[in-house]
Symmetry: C2
Subunit: 592 residues, 2 copies
């Protein structure tokens, strides 16, 4: 049986999240910039996005993987066939400008909407979507920190997608620890810089999709302090304003496990001309402005992979017949085998994936909405609280959804059996492509440290307590409908555990070795809290649907119930461990 | 920093397991066939195996992955450069005959020794080791079920490795459910068969390593019953005894995620000449004789991958410096970064991997020893108990060690950061190669069903109760040394939970839907019981070492303590769920 890899955009679930779980229109009404936006318009944008993803990006996914990127003798990079046409269509349809600032030509639509569109693009072609993925962050960084001349020169072409951007951070000796990087920038009398050094793992550092590529290069000015406080940010374009080629070259492409169609470049800057963005020595601060949205975008890559893997595995499992189900009656019509979707093991895999994808979508949408509110809400107190909420959710989403993307691809591969291991079925590419997202944009281990040190201990639990309050409100709302009560109970249990765990962590605050040993448990436990909230709010929202498809509503309730009963208990171990404090963590080199 | 992929055979740990954890020499003394074997001889064999793996197989691992197998215009399959030379050296050194029956030219050494050698070969080159991997099973099957003429003709060349074997089971519509297969065998007046049909996913169905390839083909005789009771087994050689080419052809090679150097063939048999092995309609029974050892071999592939990934990640983590450790004092000598092996997140990953690999080796060795005792012990009652023990451990090892191979490769890849995703570092190949072992030789879901239905409920818990008794003996032994007591307590806790869970499962015996929903929990929980036993017996054995390296002993104790405190608590959720009985498991198609 040959199944074709396909994509049905989860538009119904997306609308459900916007309308019934988040009530996004009510939030938009409080944001002057979005006050005119209504739900039908938003959903029309999603439908257009779904069509673009399916018609233009999906057909290039497998071919791009096979063909890969090729470094040309002249130092250029050739992307796979069709990538450039798709990119031109993408720009022509104004997708890059969707959430861009209106001042620079953007449409100024919410990041929430932009995020859901990204999920669909990533689901259909993660590698292709790498190229425009950094535009939003580059625009944010330049809009906030570049000088007027720089903004006027670069922002319109970046917002429209006419030019693309690259972030040049990593060096061979400096990965998670950017304080170790060595690229130098020498100020010139005319105010420009000459940038010299080598960078690796630069996604889209060179390619043939756009006429210019704007690099944001982390570097050191002369006499800069050691470590990360000595870093500055430089804008270094492939082509200079006078049209001449800048002194920067792609020295090689990485041969990777996956994401073959995304050019991962080793770049050399040979006294390339650049301009400072932001203050000298404040390069990391200039980039922090984009950190939350960039990490959310990576989370959405994971979500897209998980959705794609899940729906394809489900289609396969409903068609593929092997063996009779345990305890099934003698088959009518003499069928000797049932669809594997009816076997308990496959039901666990598929229900678990569906529920986690749906909860992940709710949590990612909450974070995107928080980013919108932080930017646009009319009330400064709401803006501030939303900023703290987005900051708290970001490392959780980045780490947990990228892991779901990879683990979900692997679980889905298992559903395909031996076919899953064969290239033409598509799922093995998902697994290979999804893996990198657990590493880049801050490894998932770095996210756990960020969550614990900055987002929990940094404000002594204030952001978490605000979130717990909202969860308890949801639990109270679930006390009403009888079918929602088990969700209320489960959510309250998570909240109680979280409150105890927070106290325990605060008591350990000055024992960094003890708390850092618990970072991964904190990450897991808080994620399950967020999931419990998503399960409860989704179930309650589904119960509130009185028109529409009763079967869809019932299935949503069953999936959320499955997740509550079979998945949520995984949280206990992590809460217990945090509350108990850390057990001994031996040193490793001694263990050789 | 460029680290080279390397292998240091875990000879010290293997000797520790043989000598101090299992006391294998005492067991061998009870087996007439092995009574002459002593520990030093056994360890000398392991050293030779380590040298062969490292010197002959490791250098071909990455090149084999890049080159892959190529289907030639004449239908032959060309293996990667060097594979054939390595195979000739392997045969010349008599490795295939290691555990082969002396009657047919084998050395008759224990499967325990053979298993440890396999772990090393798989660690260094899983793809290469696929070719000889099926020899042992084919030999067992033929020795037990073929007629005298067939045995005399085929066994000597298979035992010596002069010829290789292939198992032809899967068909496009028949994967986990072999009852659906359609390949036909027509008896001929001369007693031979004509075999007609198509098979897929046939590892080593065609290649250039040996002069003949002996296929064991599962097929149906005319008027065979439907389903798996209608299956027969046929021996179908590539070259017939008169030297002519049989009517069978490799129609294609699968393009896979990994294991590129292993030829995965689509085979067509066009009235190929074959001979029945075993009784008509008893094809599956003829193959069951090799099932336990074949599945143990797949488990050892996982263990080899996990060992390889762990030791390479550890070497990298001890060299790679990024950031200061949380809470570290200001660095002496002004170092600005510590080896990442000192960071808590990496310590968790690496200690967890080491402990799981070491426990997995103990459990696999217990199973291999049980297979030896089942075959060779002088006492029939011991043979019978050992057979039940091996049968119980087999599905656990197959599922859990193949998952450790894959998850371990992924965890190790994360240690390498961005470099892990790049081909030249080696770890991404481990991840790709390791994935298939979770699927073939019975998917891990099939193993969970086998464990629950046949190995636990099939004898109403007798084999598990015997195992629990032995675990309690170990716990009692751990009550002595003070440092061993926490292991005794942890092991007793697992035994208590297992006894309660067994009662709960037996009470559900006639509710197949409820028990099958718990199959994965049973798998996980029992695995942790086996790990707790391995942690305890390893710790106690280490405490008993009075000569030798005190640092090695201490590190072993710390790793086992880490595993007891940080890993073992994962078991609770699974035990609780089994004891509580199954929660509702919704149907899937309704969930669309």
């Amino acid at each position: 049986m040959r199944m074709s890899w396909n994509y049905e955009a989860p538009l119904r679930d997306m609308r459900f999240v916007l309308e019934h779980v988040l009530d996004a229109p009510a939030a938009w009404a409080q944001c002057p910039a979005h006050a005119e936006l209504d739900l039908d318009t938003a959903c029309a944008v999603l439908e257009q996005g779904a069509r673009f993803a399916r018609e233009r990006l999906l057909p290039l996914n497998a071919t791009g993987d096979r063909q890969g990127c090729r470094l040309q003798p002249d130092g250029g990079v050739r992307t796979p066939d069709g990538f450039r046409d798709a990119y031109e269509a993408f720009v022509a349809a104004a997708w890059p400008a969707l959430a861009g600032p209106p001042r620079w030509g953007g449409q100024g639509l919410p990041l929430l909407l932009d995020g859901l569109v990204r999920e669909m693009f990533d689901a259909c072609n993660h590698a292709w979507n790498m190229y425009p993925d950094l535009l939003h962050g580059a625009v944010q960084t330049l809009a906030a920190h570049a000088d007027d001349a720089c903004r006027a020169r670069y922002l319109p072409a970046l917002v429209s997608g006419q030019w693309l951007a690259a972030m040049a951070l990593t060096e061979p000796q400096a990965g998670s620890d950017l304080g170790l990087l060595r690229t130098r920038a020498q100020p010139q009398p005319d105010g420009s810089l000459r940038v010299r050094g080598s960078k690796i793992f630069i996604s889209g550092g060179e390619h043939d999709l756009s006429e210019n590529i704007v690099h944001l290069v982390l570097c050191r000015l002369p006499d800069a302090a050691r470590g990360s406080r000595g870093l500055s940010l430089a804008l270094v374009p492939k082509f200079l304003p006078d049209g001449s080629r800048n002194a920067m070259v792609c020295e090689g492409l990485e041969h990777k496990m996956g994401l073959q169609a995304s050019a991962t470049c080793a770049m050399r800057y040979d006294d390339a001309v650049g301009w400072l963005v932001g203050e000298p020595g404040r390069g990391l601060a200039a980039m922090f402005v984009m950190m939350n949205s960039a990490r959310l975008h990576v989370a959405l890559q994971g979500l897209g992979h998980a959705e794609m893997a899940t729906q394809n595995a489900l289609r396969y499992a409903l068609e593929r017949r092997q063996s009779r189900v345990a305890g099934a009656r003698a088959a009518a019509g003499g069928a000797t085998a049932d669809p594997i979707a009816r076997h308990a093991a496959m039901r666990h895999v598929l229900l678990g994936l569906q529920a986690q994808v749906e909860a992940g979508r709710v949590i990612a949408a909450r974070a995107a909405l928080a980013l919108d509110l932080a930017e646009q809400h009319r009330d400064a107190a709401v803006r501030q609280a939303a900023q703290a909420r987005a900051a708290l959710l970001t490392p959780l989403l980045k780490a947990q959804l990228t892991r779901l993307g990879f683990d979900g691809a692997s679980a889905a591969l298992q559903v395909f059996g031996g076919y899953g291991y064969v290239r033409e079925y598509g799922i093995e590419q998902s697994l290979r492509d999804a893996r990198i997202a657990m590493i880049y944009e801050g490894t998932n281990e770095i996210q756990a440290i960020d969550l614990l040190q900055r987002k929990l201990l940094g404000d002594r639990g204030a952001a978490l307590r605000a979130l717990l309050q909202e969860c308890l409100d949801e639990a109270r709302a679930c006390d009403g409908p009888q079918q929602a009560r088990p969700f209320a109970e489960a959510l309250r249990g998570q909240c109680d555990a979280a409150a105890r765990a927070l106290d325990a962590l605060l008591a350990l605050e000055h024992e960094p070795a003890a708390t850092s040993a618990l970072a991964q448990d904190v990450m897991e436990a808080l994620w399950w809290l967020l999931c419990a909230w998503a399960f409860a709010s989704s179930a309650r929202a589904a119960l509130g649907l009185h028109d529409g498809d009763a079967r869809w509503r019932q299935a949503k309730l069953e999936r959320m119930g499955y997740a509550r009963d079979w998945l949520l208990p995984r949280a206990s171990l992590h809460w217990q461990r945090i509350t108990a404090g850390a057990a001994l963590l031996p040193e490793l080199p001694a263990a050789q």
